[in-house]
Each structure stands twice: as C-alpha cells, then as structure tokens.
C-alpha cells in the first residue's frame, strides 16, 4: 500500500465519522473569527438557542474594517458608522458567548492570519478554519487550514465539526533556490501563472522541494496564503526545524513536558516517501525573476522583464476576451513593458506580506531614499500590533516615514479597502496583497501584485523596476 501524504495524515487524524456518501464529519481544532463573516453566525446561534461547543478552540480579532489611522479614541470613534457597528458587534458577541478576543486597541490585535501563528494559536497537526479564504496561510505549519463561509462558521461554533469531502492531493515541487531579490511572493505568483486560478481547485496543495525548505516561516506563510488564488482551499508545507523553532515559547504553544510530546508528534507531519499525489507540478526556482501582475486575476502575471500579452495571440476565445477586458480595465496596451507602468499608490501590508520579515525587506530598499514625487501615497500597514512594536524597536518605522511613506496601525487595510484606505478610480497601485480583482482595492482601482521589495522599489522609482538592479541595501 502506498504511503500517505501530509494531507492524508491530517485528514485521517480528524475524521469523527465517515458517511456513506463519501463526506465525513471532520473535527476542527481552531477557529479564528473576525468581524465581517461572523455576525450572522452568532445571530444564527442565538435564533436556534445554541451555545458554542468548545469556547477555547475560538480566537477572535477585528481586522477587515478597523481604521489604520490613529485610533486611541476607541471603537466608538470609528468614523464609518457601518464599520463601527460591525466591530462593536464582534466585541458584543465575544463578550456574550465568552470567546477570547484581541480587541482593536489590544497590542495583540492584527490580521487573523498574522496573529494565529504569532500567538502559537496555530500549531502543526491542527485543523484550522476561519471565515476568510486566506486561512490557507496556516498550512505553512503543516496544519490543515482553509476558509469557510458564514454558515460553516456557525456550524463549527455549534458542533466543532465540518461536513467535508476529502480533497485530492497536489504536489508543487520547487527545485533549485530563489535568487537574491526573488521571494516567496514571486514564487507563488509564478506558480499561479503556471497552473491558473482554478489549477488547484478540489486539491490540497503541498509545497515541497529545495526552494521551499530554504524559505523562512514567513515566506512559507506567504506561499500558503495564496494557495487559494490557485484555487486550492488549503496549502501545506511539512514540519522541519524552522517550524518548531518558530512556535517555541509563543504564548499559546505547549510548554514543558507537553512541548516535548508535541514536538515528537509534529516530526511525523510530512508526506511519506512513497506517497502518491493525484497531480504533480514541478518548477525551477533558480531561473525565476521578480513577478508583477498586469491584469485582473492573479494568474495574469509576468516577470519584470516582460510585457503585457497580446490578445490576438490567444487561441482560446474565452481567454482572449478575458485578456481584452483586463487590459481595458487596467488601462494598459498589448505588449506594454511592465517597467513602463506608472504608479499612483503603493501598499505594503495584508495577510500575505505584513510580517516583520516583509517589512525588513521593504525597509532595506527604502532606506536613505525618497518616495517618487509622482506618487500620491505609499502605505505601510503592519500585520499586527506586535509586528508594529517589533518594527519600531528595529527603527523600520523611521526608515519608512523618512522616505515619505505612511506608517499605520495594523489591519487588512487597502488589501480589500473595507476601511478608509482605498484606491481612486483609474489609479495604479503596486500592492503586496493577494488579489488584483476589478474594484478590489477601490472602485475602478488598478492593482499590481508584487513582493514587498518590489513594491518598495516601485514607490521610490514611481514605476516598476527590477529590484535586483541595485535596489537592495544592506540587511537590517
């Protein structure tokens, strides 16, 4: 019998009951909650007279709606009344049901997918869900983690389980090493470019190979974060020393004898050598250049030395229409060089790229330089209060503000523009976030997804440049 994949092992360990139709009742170890996708779930519990099955499995924080400007006056001072009600509703629901919440002005508050790992609330071998598609992030810790809808949030609150059908196994094997100036973000964009935004649909993707082993935990989180942009609800990376080192001594991590036992179990969280995958994709990291999306889907991506496509060259009519539509929306011409794209705003942040390492990489590029005069705004939004604190202790905030960038409070911010941080119509933005959909960062806004270093260099130059051309300063 063939060995098991990492996904098989995680699945098997969590099956409460196998049903005859092929679905299973799967146990959930951790649920993360935020203000946007939870209010209707709590309301559902109330209407049905139900209580949460297991309070300590839940952890909540407001992130999507919170302002990133000064907020010492508290939730009551949130200007947008609809946003304010949503944040207040989360506070009230957590209070009513007894769920731990890092509220807006708690230093531990931040983007759910940053604070889970930061607190050690994300552990290897767990099943983790959240009403947010970027829950795939936590797969970097060999946890089976995926986004769910609000009805499922309610289902997990009430039963600690989900009704699931087992996904297929996909292996993305990345050989070779990324060159300096090329990051996890570039790698995942290239993978999405290769397999498409539906390439991983119905699969859990395990990322493996030399390039993945060489990535930091932050890099692995960036990679797994965007598995969903390749259509896969879950991304996975096997446990190694880096995983264990990252978790050790975090507030929610096991301690003492329990830690030793946990580590021993976690060492098994990798695919067996003879495991079978339904789909295998191989890539060479060593020849990869920095990536920039030109269109309105993450698969519409090209290397920095490249140009926008020519719809005339597309054989498939559905694809041709999509390219034409995207070029029109983005205000770009066919065969236009990427480096010729002028930018209006730059956003460094989001659950994809707002961790301390991301901010260091951006600061390396920015240090001693000034933002281009043509730029209207360059925002730097740390992923959590603790990331912000760490960055300030390292003086990164000064580097950004001296360059003319804005240093903000933690939250999702311009990744989806639910708060006041958004693009104006027709504006081009170099963004370290994860989606370049039409209107995503603001009505009529034009998003280009890049790595933090590429975004930082673009902020200085005012247009896209190859960050490898002398832009990277000394390590900070």
């Amino acid at each position: 019998m063939a060995g098991k994949t990492l996904y098989d092992k995680l699945w098997d360990a969590h099956v409460v009951k196998q049903r005859e139709d092929g679905t299973a009742l799967l146990y959930i170890d951790r649920q993360l909650l935020h203000e946007v996708t939870s209010p209707q779930a709590f309301e559902g519990l109330r209407i049905a007279g139900r209580t949460p099955w297991r309070l300590d499995a839940n952890l909540a924080t407001p992130d999507h709606n919170v302002p990133t400007t000064e907020r010492s006056k508290g939730v009551e001072a949130i200007e947008d009344p609809v946003s304010r009600i949503q944040v207040q509703t989360l506070d009230a629901n957590c209070e009513e049901f007894g769920i731990t919440e890092f509220s807006m002005n708690d230093v531990r508050q931040g983007i759910v997918h940053v604070i889970g790992p930061e607190q050690g609330a994300t552990l290897p071998g767990m099943t983790i869900v959240c009403g947010d598609s970027h829950t795939s992030t936590h797969g970097a810790f060999a946890a089976l983690a995926h986004g769910i809808g609000t009805s499922e949030v309610e289902h997990v609150l009430a039963t600690q389980c989900l009704v699931q059908r087992k996904m297929k196994n996909m292996l993305v094997k990345v050989n070779g090493r990324l060159q300096p100036g090329v990051y996890a973000k570039d790698l995942i964009l290239a993978i999405i470019g290769k397999i498409g935004t539906a390439g991983g649909t119905g699969h859990a993707i395990e990322f493996a190979g030399e390039a993945i082993e060489a990535l930091s935990m932050e890099g692995r989180m960036t990679l797994c974060n965007m598995a969903i942009e390749a259509g896969a609800r879950a991304g996975l990376v096997a446990v190694d020393d880096k995983t264990i080192e990252y978790i050790k001594d975090r507030p929610y991590a096991p301690k003492g004898e329990l830690w030793e036992r946990a580590v021993e179990a976690w060492r098994e969280l990798k695919s067996d050598p003879d495991a079978q995958f339904d789909t295998v994709v191989e890539l060479d990291a060593s020849t990869l250049e920095p990536q920039v999306t030109w269109g309105t889907s993450p698969e519409m991506v090209v290397g920095i030395s490249g140009a926008t496509p020519d719809p005339e060259q597309a054989a498939d009519p559905v694809k041709r229409d999509a390219i034409e539509r995207a070029l029109k929306y983005m205000g770009l011409q066919p065969n236009q060089p990427i480096t010729s794209i002028q930018l209006d705003r730059v956003f460094i942040g989001s659950c994809t790229n707002s961790r301390i390492e991301d901010l260091r990489e951006a600061a390396r590029v920015v240090k001693g330089r000034k933002v281009a005069e043509t730029l209207k705004q360059a925002l730097v939004v740390p992923g959590s209060g603790l990331v912000k604190q760490q960055a300030e202790a390292e003086g990164l905030d000064k580097i950004f503000t001296e360059a003319g960038m804005e240093w903000r409070e933690p939250g999702c911010s311009m990744c989806l523009a639910m708060n006041a941080d958004k693009l104006g119509q027709g504006e081009h933005c170099a963004s370290t976030s994860n989606r370049n959909f039409e209107g995503r960062q603001g009505f009529g806004g034009r998003t280009h997804l890049v790595s933090p270093a590429m975004a930082a260099a673009a902020a200085i130059a005012g247009h896209f440049v190859d960050v490898r051309d002398g832009w990277i300063g000394e390590a900070l």
Partner: protein, 214 residues
C-alpha cells in the same frame, strides 16, 4: 433554509470566466450584519455605472445597459448560466446571499470555486456543474431564444431544456438530502454529538496540547 426540489425559470447568461466574489458582491456591502438585503447590490460594479454605497437606494442609480441583468429580456431570471471557475476569490457567503436575494435559485457552470460551491448549498442555491460543451450549447440557446427557460430537477439530478434534452449532474447525497428537505445542517450534525464527544476524549489522550485552556 428554503427547500429545493424542482425549479423552472428564465435563464440569464453571464458570459465571463473566473467571475470572482468581489464582482458578485463588492466589499463595501459586507459591512452588513444581516443575511438579507444584498440583492440590489448583486454584481454592483458591473450592473451600475456609479460607485455603490451601503444602505443606498439603488432605484435611481445609472444602470450599465450592456450588463446582462439589465437587459429587458432577462428580467425575472432565476437561473444564472456562467463560465468556468465561477465564484473564485473570497469565502464571503454574502455572494450566495446576494444571488438568492436577487432571485436566483440555481447557477449552472462548467466549474465552480470550492468555497463558493460549498456556501451555495447552505442557502438553498443549487450550483449545477455541467459539461463544458453542454454549457456552451445552453449559452447559444439562451442567447438565441428570448425568454429561454430551463428546469432544474434536483431529485433526478437533471437539467431539462424546452427542446427535450436532459443534462445529468452530480451532487453529494448528504447535500442533496439537506437541500430537498430544507434541513438545517447543524441539527443533522448534532445527531452525532456522541461521536464528537468520543473523538474528543480519544484526542485528549493522543494530543493533549490541542485542548489547553488559554
């Protein structure tokens, strides 16, 4: 949840691949703490020429005449015909809420994004996967015949055309059962409460660090 057994209705063709959830319901409308009222903002950026705001009366907004749902022949449509990877992007259940609030009961496409697909079943909105060539044929017929209607029969798992064709589709038995009977899935799961407790007791032994009080 509203039952879904057999539904017959007008078809609206949305001829675009990779329709994402930001298109289905833009983020500014996710600030609502209710499950209803999203219909007027379904496909907001495609449907209107201006930028929509939450709690706004949409009746006086300028419509995009090119958008399919604004064309007189598709008024009253309750079946959406779409292209591959429909519903990709975020996990927002506001997407199926907006579709049902508008009046859609079924979406037919060659493929769906996973999370959106799951969310549909919780809301009495049936996602139907047909073969690429069948969807192509339905696009041709819908565009050629004003008032084109289809019948989606969940019990028998077929889509029937007025020309007498029947296209079969797959659906999980459990989901089908819940949809046909309008069942609350939580109630069904809680029938297995003993199995959940037994699992927890076993796991507490195997992996006690997963049950720490924080």
């Amino acid at each position: 949840m509203e039952k879904f057994t057999v539904h017959e209705g007008i078809v609206a063709p949305l001829d675009m691949a990779n329709v994402d959830t930001d298109m289905i319901i833009p983020k500014q409308f996710l600030k609502s703490i209710k499950r209803t009222g999203f219909g007027p903002n379904l496909f907001d950026e495609l449907r209107y020429l201006d930028e929509g705001q939450p709690d706004q009366d949409c009746s006086g907004r300028p419509l995009n005449p090119d958008f399919v749902l604004n064309q007189p022949r598709y008024q009253g449509a309750s079946i959406l015909l779409a292209r591959q990877n429909f519903g990709c992007g975020s996990s927002r259940e506001h997407a199926p809420w907006a579709l049902t609030d508008y009046g859609f009961r079924a979406v037919i496409a060659p493929s769906f994004a996973d999370i959106f697909f799951n969310n549909c079943f919780k809301n009495g909105l049936l996602p139907v996967v047909l073969k690429e060539e069948e969807v192509d044929e339905l696009f041709r017929r819908t565009e050629a015949n004003e008032g084109y209607r289809l019948t989606v029969d969940l019990e028998n798992q077929v889509v029937r055309t007025p020309e007498g064709d029947a296209y079969a589709f797959e659906v999980d038995a459990f989901r089908k059962h819940c949809m046909l009977n309008g069942l609350d899935e939580i109630g069904v799961t809680l029938e297995d409460a003993d199995a959940i407790r037994a699992y927890e007791a076993r796991r507490r032994n195997e992996a006690p660090w997963l049950f720490q009080q924080n």
